[in-house]
């Protein structure tokens, strides 16, 4: 069972899409799809193979390419993929997605397959212990309602208990369901109409949602979640100096790999790293920086530096 195999390669995927098109394709259409779905230089490799007939998968008539295979073509799953699916069946979160009947069907189809791993073989040693209750029926029901609303861009009527104890009741458009590996919790990234008429991004812990109902109203406007997130970043990034002792450079680079960052060497053994973040990330980032002790020095921004000195 090879993970690095040509059967999963990008070129095979591109070719499958070209070959299962309902209609004959022109050379320009083929080029355009390769550019869209392939790597940057794939065009240079694929086109000659189609033109010289080495990949004899099209019948060329006049200027049109007719696929030799059926447009209903479906790639079967490999043993590796089946074993992967079988392993997922033992994960408690799978019941958020599949009901009993669906689980039974999938288990039946994978009856003779060995799972790629067993849950007890993977141990998250620093995961928080108060993860979400995935097997709780009420939680599952809320999760599915929110997922449905997210996919249909439907307003959801949400009754929420905030961490500071305040009860919030509002209409939200779910934008994404965000999972935290560290907290083992789901959060809802949701849009809410602000008083200025714009949409504002809010983050709600799904376990804290008391009640959620779908409304019959759909969001029809433009939703650029990433723009909202990026707009929320402070203009001044966190500016860190990393002293490369006790392997701190590599540790820091890996530790902060999930942030947008930029690093450069500024001295023989010192590096400067800029990390972009927003208010919602601030406390967590402060905690992470503190954990490095004197191996990291915060030199800006002033806001972060003051918070660090206050801590």
């Amino acid at each position: 069972m090879e993970l690095f195999s040509e059967i999963y390669s990008c070129y095979y995927q591109v070719m499958r899409h070209l070959l299962t098109c309902q209609n004959a394709l022109t050379a320009d259409e083929i080029r355009s799809r390769i550019c869209k779905e392939g790597f940057e230089e794939s065009l240079l490799a694929i086109i000659p193979k189609l033109e010289n007939g080495n990949w004899n998968l099209f019948q060329k008539e006049h200027e049109l390419y007719f696929s030799k295979i059926n447009s209903e073509f479906l790639t079967p799953l490999s043993r590796l993929q089946k074993s992967y699916l079988k392993a997922l069946l033992s994960d408690p979160r799978i019941t958020l997605f599949l009901n009993r009947e669906q689980l039974h069907s999938l288990e039946h189809m994978l009856n003779s397959v060995e799972p790629l791993w067993h849950p007890k073989q993977i141990y998250y040693f620093d995961r928080f212990t108060d993860g979400d209750p995935y097997t709780d029926d009420a939680y599952r029901s809320k999760f599915r309602t929110l997922l449905s609303a997210q996919k249909n861009r439907q307003y959801a009527d949400i009754d929420y208990n905030s961490p500071n104890g305040a009860r919030v009741h509002h209409y939200y458009v779910p934008a994404r369901l965000e999972y935290s590996v560290k907290n083992d919790k789901f959060r809802l990234l949701a849009l809410k109409h602000a008083k200025n008429g714009r949409m504002r991004l809010e983050i709600l812990n799904i376990a804290r949602i008391q009640k959620v109902c779908l409304t019959d109203k759909f969001f029809t406007g433009q939703m650029d979640l990433n723009a909202l997130i990026q707009d929320s970043y402070y203009k001044e990034p966190l500016r860190l100096h990393i002293l490369n002792k006790r392997n701190a450079l590599e540790r820091a680079m890996l530790h902060f790999a999930n942030y947008k960052k930029n690093t450069r060497k500024i001295g023989e053994n010192t590096y400067e790293c800029l990390i972009y973040y927003n208010q919602a990330m601030e406390t967590e980032l402060l905690i992470e920086v503190l954990s490095f002790g004197p191996m990291l020095k915060v030199v800006g921004n002033d806001r972060f530096l003051n918070n660090l000195k206050k801590s």
Binding site: I69, L74, P76, Y123, T129, Q150, V181, N183
Partner: protein, 419 residues
């Protein structure tokens, strides 16, 4: 550069380059010393081809460096998965892939001879029987095709029920959309989704460390050895000095840090008679050896010992069997009781005791208390005292704190009453 190929035969060399570009991203061409400049140029060109939108160029004195600018909070998939989709192949490979699978789509079973004939009659492509048989056998091994015997003849068939079920089942595709981002070996989920013409538009993952997908081939080999209860030989390249060595062990469990995404193999090393953890990103190769009859007993032993681990170290610097760390904290009640919640939630089973008004104590035994220091430091500003039976841990804590006070030129007192 005329022989430049976008696709590659083997993964390991590329794995190192991608990791360096992604993790560091500040090395210029001259600083990649392990390989020739020509190799660097080819690897860089490939990287730019595969991951174009994420490649960032920064001009610095002495050249420019390229890095991968990936903000995981903004992405619905791991862009580094593309690196797994770059395996090279022959012309015959791709043609036979589509034509054989197309011939078998209707569920009928055919022998290699029949397939060869049909390739000629249906598609006007000529292959010899051996080539077709070899491909069918390889696909049977990969699980893409089934095989049955009919008299002396071997017939190949395709069972696509699972693919059809997944394609018609939205909930299953939602699950895959989630697990490709959040779970173990997400690359496989991502490839299934792609086959089903589906993609993730619903989930994001916080604390997602994309770079670790580069170790997935190693992880897969280790899981295979664990499932078969085999000894393994690991080829390891030290991250500090770059030296390569080998180690033999019985692989027992994969330890994962949710905070850094780092993954480790916890194995039993017979030679030292100890449990030891190996960072997966330093493992270059896994070789399966003979079965380990003591496997189940060792797993139970590890399970018993795990509650005394903090992270991945089974021995502290002072070579005590066990050490105890005691931290006393100031917590303004009731306003700051969230600190107590943190101690309970993040303290990995340590005891949390109220010592008096606004004073709480956290205590835990561990094989290596040194590993606890990064977490302990996150309570800086609230720690009244820290004691540890491993005195070097205590000293390091106070020394680091003193260094921080000097670094930020803030007032502090490190005589045991720190605020």
């Amino acid at each position: 550069m005329s022989n430049f190929q976008e696709l590659i035969k083997s993964f390991p060399k590329t794995r190192e380059y991608v990791r360096d570009f992604f993790v560091y991203g500040f090395k210029t061409r001259n600083e990649f010393k392990e390989k020739s400049p020509r190799t660097y140029d080819n690897e860089r060109r490939r990287l730019e081809s595969w991951l174009g939108p994420f490649v960032q160029r920064d001009y610095v004195p002495g050249g420019f460096n390229i890095s991968l600018a990936i903000d995981s909070g903004l992405l619905d998939s791991n862009p580094l998965f593309r690196v797994w989709k770059t395996k090279s192949f022959t012309d015959n490979d791709i043609v036979l892939h589509f034509l054989i699978l197309d011939l078998l789509q209707d569920g009928q079973s055919l022998t290699a001879e029949e397939l060869t004939d049909r390739l000629l009659t249906d598609y006007e492509t000529l292959f010899d029987i051996q080539t077709v048989r070899r491909k069918c056998n390889a696909y049977e091994k990969e699980g893409l095709l089934g095989r049955e015997k009919s008299g002396k003849a071997v017939r190949f068939f395709l069972d696509n029920r699972l693919s059809h079920w997944l394609k018609s089942n939205e909930s299953a595709r939602d699950a895959l959309a989630f697990y490709q981002m959040a779970g173990c070996l997400g690359i496989i989920g991502n490839e299934i989704l792609e086959q089903l013409e589906s993609q993730n538009r619903s989930f994001r993952v916080k604390h997602s460390f994309f770079v670790h997908t580069l170790e997935d081939e190693i992880l897969l080999s280790l899981l295979n050895a664990m499932n078969r209860k085999l000894n393994v030989e690991l080829t390891i390249k030290s991250s500090k000095k770059g030296l390569e060595n080998t180690a033999s062990c019985i692989p027992l469990q994969i330890f994962v840090s949710a905070r850094s995404g780092r993954r480790f193999l916890c194995g039993y090393v017979k030679r030292s008679k100890r449990f030891t953890c190996f960072r997966l990103d330093t493992v270059k190769q896994v070789g399966c050896l003979e079965p380990a009859p003591e496997y189940d007993g060792l797993q139970e032993k590890l399970e018993r010992n795990r509650c005394l681990l903090w992270g991945v170290s089974f021995q502290g610097t002072e070579r005590h069997h066990l050490d105890t760390l005691t931290m006393t904290l100031y917590v303004k009640e009731p306003r700051e009781l969230y600190i107590v919640d943190r101690l309970k939630r993040e303290g990995r089973g340590g005891s949390v005791t109220r010592m008096g008004e606004n004073t709480w104590q956290y205590q835990r035994e561990s094989f290596d208390c040194n590993e606890m220091l990064p977490w302990v430091r996150t309570f800086t500003g609230r720690i009244l005292s820290l004691e540890c039976t491993a005195k070097s841990v205590e000293q390091r804590f106070y020394q680091d704190l003193e260094d921080m006070y000097q670094m930020y030129q803030t007032g502090g007192n490190t005589d045991g009453t720190v605020f």
